[in-house]
Assembly symmetry: C2
Homo-oligomer: 109 residues x 2
DNA sequence: GAGACTGTTGGATGATTGTCAAACGGTACG
DNA sequence: CGTACCGTTTGACAATCATCCAACAGTCTC
């Protein structure tokens, strides 16, 4: 059975996103590289290989995902046994105008 | 004697400023509040009271200053027994266009 | 139902961090 | 010179963090 149940994992409301939390979430090389991956607009599952962090254990990836989601950077939809993660671009633009764009422009290639 | 010897403390060159380091430097409530203080454009000595962090020990303040300076956020001039700190606004704008402005706009009042 | 698959949770560990306190080094000024 | 002043350095400590491993929970597919 189990029609894909399309459930969203808990995340902060737009107005509750805090700048410090966002900066803390991005103050790590791994998560900063994930920001760039997600900036393509695609939704990714959490497979370390597809995310360019094949060297990391899957539980470590899960940990990073949680931090980014709880900071308000990403939103995650659970479909079957996969988690599809994407950037909360509109929410971030509404809360911190211009911040995301300048961050992405500042990222090393 | 001792005509004020106007010496600059070591800081990274513009092109050596790293985004991760900048984000790490700002991923702390105290230092984020300092960013706002320095955004006024004034130069400040390191007196905790004038910086709005009167509750912190002077050695802690010195520690925060060092982190911000080594990240490339601030520059420090030593004059006599004082240190005058200011934001490297032009350098940051050149290295990460728009980032500083959007950060300052995103800061809670 | 038995495996295989995707991701989470809990514990363990080593590294980093924010803070304070005490000692120190220059500097200014009686 | 002696004392007060401003900031740095060092050490200590508790807290947080990034990482791995093992075990677990759902989910999909034979």
């Amino acid at each position: 059975m189990s029609e894909a149940e399309n459930e969203w994992l808990p995340q902060p409301d737009v107005e509750d996103i805090e700048l410090v939390k966002v900066l803390q979430a991005l103050a790590d090389p791994v998560r900063l590289s994930l920001l760039k991956v997600y900036a393509t607009g695609e939704r990714f599952s959490c497979a370390p290989d597809a995310l360019g962090i094949a060297h990391l254990h899957k539980s470590t990836v899960s940990h990073h995902m949680k931090i980014m989601r709880e900071a308000g950077l990403t939103s995650t939809r659970a479909v079957g046994r996969n988690r599809y993660v994407q950037l909360r671009r509109d929410d971030l633009d509404a809360r911190f105008p211009g911040l995301l764009d300048s961050l992405l422009k500042s990222l090393p290639d």
